[in-house]
């Protein structure tokens, strides 16, 4: 049986290799090959993980249904984004602006990012999980400022500072929790999540609650929850499009994953649902703040970034009202959808030479694949059926209403309604107006079409039909989170 550390070792080796490759094109090819190999490794490890937990390296590593679910999204999105990178960097490659140095920086940081994220997800040691989470910040900051121009460096720096300082608080929360666990742990290692889970009922309530507040604010900063979301729009919009897709599609999920690891521990200690109740206001605030900004946003990538704040708010709200499986389902849908929209927005922005939606008009005629992808992607994102995002939002509302969270659900629907109207308004303008003078339509290649059709098809399929495998995976992962439903 394949050891768990191989999942981390493979991208780490690719990072080292990418830093030494002599040709830019080779780095991009390695990106595709390496991330595909990671998908294969995951597929080998996954079946055992989904049916129960697997430990590695003396209990330091853990792959259980919850981490396997997230890892599936991570490796999938990384692979498709690596493929998209071939397309996204093609013009720069042709003009020679994608130099060897830049390619090496990209390749090394790209795989370092994948390494850190995989390590974060398979870590059983909560200290190691924090270390890997901070490492994702460092690696992705390098990716955000790939261009090394002042605006992108400024965005990378803001991101680095706010997230690092933010998750320093999560480290304090980790220490508080493990310090409390140590008092009752005896010979057991208080840093291992599996031990914490068992020890939780014996721990004192006060310190554990205090620890959770720090963990929530710390990892919540990384998840882009309002009011700690301020770094997000700049970082996501300045990054090259493949990087934005990964940042938005999976990194935010991973931060929420960290929070959900601690929810069952706090619940087992306090036992009154107070940990979940704390998530609800953060979720609602994120939805409403994002809605307010979406109305006035004209930069297409910043618009998508605010959608991330909104959707992560929905996920947090979903977990808060006890809909673990629904929230996980929403995370999957959001990841697929956000990956698609960032691919298309990136391509369009490149071809228009700008990101202002008021001047990006007639996008379907101008660039069919990316145009259709962006418009349908935005429709899916705002929750139009039959796309899966609609189903997961509906599921969260159902769970919320059953749990007597009527006012929270009402506020959620108001926020979602504002986003719906505003985003469709933006999309309609981009479709119906004519492209500016002198713009010749750009024909799409097969690669571009497949990167649009594949995610869209997936969104429709899982929107109308839940395969039994997916249903079981969701239920299994939600059970780890200790969710009621």
């Amino acid at each position: 049986m394949m050891p768990l550390w191989a999942l981390v070792a493979l991208p780490a080796a690719c990072a080292v290799l990418a830093a030494g490759l002599p040709v830019p094109r080779a780095v991009l090819s390695l990106g595709v090959a390496g991330s595909f190999a990671e998908v294969v490794l995951f597929c080998l490890a996954a079946p055992a993980a989904f049916s129960g937990q697997r430990l590695g390296i003396d209990g330091q590593l853990l792959l259980d249904p919850l981490s396997a679910f997230h890892l599936a999204i991570v490796v999938g999105v990384f692979f498709l984004s690596s493929v998209y990178a071939l397309d996204a960097f093609a013009p720069e490659l042709a003009s020679g602006r994608f130099s060897t140095g830049k390619a090496r920086r990209f390749g090394a940081a790209w795989f370092a990012f994948l390494t850190a994220m995989t390590l974060m997800l398979v870590a059983n040691n909560v200290g190691l999980m924090w270390i890997a989470m901070e490492a994702t910040t460092l690696a992705s900051a390098m990716l955000i400022c790939l261009e090394l121009d002042p605006p992108s460096v400024r965005a990378a720096w803001t991101y680095l500072l706010i997230c690092s300082v933010g998750i320093a608080l999560a480290l304090l929360g980790t220490f508080l929790l493990c310090g409390e666990a140590r008092a009752v742990a005896g010979e057991q290692n208080p840093f291992l999540w599996t031990n914490l889970r068992v020890l939780a009922p014996k721990m004192h309530e006060g310190p554990v609650r205090l620890a959770f507040v720090f963990l929530l604010v710390g990892y919540g900063t990384k998840a882009g929850l309002a009011p700690m979301h301020t770094w997000l729009p700049e970082a996501h919009s300045r990054a090259p499009a493949p990087v934005s897709a990964v940042l938005s599609g999976v990194l935010l999920n991973c931060a929420v994953y960290c929070i959900t690891r601690f929810v069952p521990i706090v619940e087992a200690t306090a036992g009154d649902g107070s940990a979940r109740a704390l998530l609800v206001p953060f979720g609602l605030l994120s939805i409403l703040v994002a809605a307010a900004f979406i109305v006035h946003e004209h930069d297409v990538k910043r618009l998508l970034a605010y959608h991330s704040v909104e959707h992560l708010g929905i996920v947090t709200l979903g977990i808060g009202v006890g809909g673990g499986a629904a929230a996980l389902y929403h995370m999957l849908n959001h990841s697929v959808c956000k990956m698609l929209t960032f691919f298309c927005a990136g391509t369009l922005a490149q071809r228009f030479g700008m990101r202002d939606m008021r001047q990006m008009q007639g996008i379907i005629g101008f660039s069919p694949a990316a145009g259709i992808g962006l418009v349908l992607g935005i429709l899916a994102l705002v929750g139009l059926p039959p796309f899966a995002v609609f189903m997961s939002e509906l599921w969260i509302v159902q769970v919320g209403l059953r749990g007597d969270h009527v006012w929270a659900m009402a506020a959620f629907l108001v926020g979602a309604g504002i986003v719906f109207v505003a985003a469709i308004g933006h999309a309609v303008d981009m479709v119906w107006k004519r492209p500016g003078e002198g713009r010749q339509p750009v024909a799409a290649v097969t690669l571009e079409w497949s990167l649009v059709v594949l995610p869209l098809a997936l969104l429709v399929v899982i929107g109308v039909w839940m395969p039994s495998g997916l249903g079981e995976a969701l239920a299994g992962a939600a059970a780890v989170m200790g969710a009621v439903r």
Binding site: L138, P151, R182, G206
Partner: protein
Amino acid sequence: MNAGFPLLADYLLVAVISLDVYIVATSRLGARVRACALQGVVHALLPLSISGAALLAHPGGVVHLALTTSVTFLLKAVVIPYAMLHAIRHSGMRREVEAFVSLHQSLIVAVVLVGVSFGISAVVATSLRGSASAPLALPAGLSTLLIGLFLAVNGKTALSQIIGYQVTQNGVFVMGQTLLGEFPLMVELGVLLDVLVAVMLTGLFVVQLSGGDEDALFAGEAREDEEGTA
């Protein structure tokens, strides 16, 4: 409970608090970096003083202690300060700290934060089981954490903000040291490595990019190129 050398621990923790106030009070970046390095030295010595005897008692404890102390010292008191001073020299930026709140007002804020930390610690100490081993550790850690956050928010330039981040981390570690007694080696080293890379990246951003003119890089809101470029 006092398994280490409690008197030494108290002296060290008083030093931590004094350094916090000194960092806020000095206007020179270089002096702040050096004070931060001194905090690193204190941090390296803390495990020895707080839980030294307990650590030395069990097998492998000597190796653990020697390794954490030396690596912490090497990174926090030598490598990181060196990188910071290098960045300051080569960025050609002004050596004075630029901040939103003036130096005098900052000092008042710092003193208030130290007072608040002692207040909070008095309330929560009873429920935190680890805190009995060194009663000063909790307020010292908390005030370092809060002052670090204040510095990170108050600084106008990348280098002064990253010093705030380092002070925050020092605070987290002082508190962690008391709560946990000992860190697993992997956690301690991993966190230090992250801090090191964060500092290196900051240096890279500042030096390579600005070509010395950090003001141009971080001035104001600067969204002028917002609409035009992709």
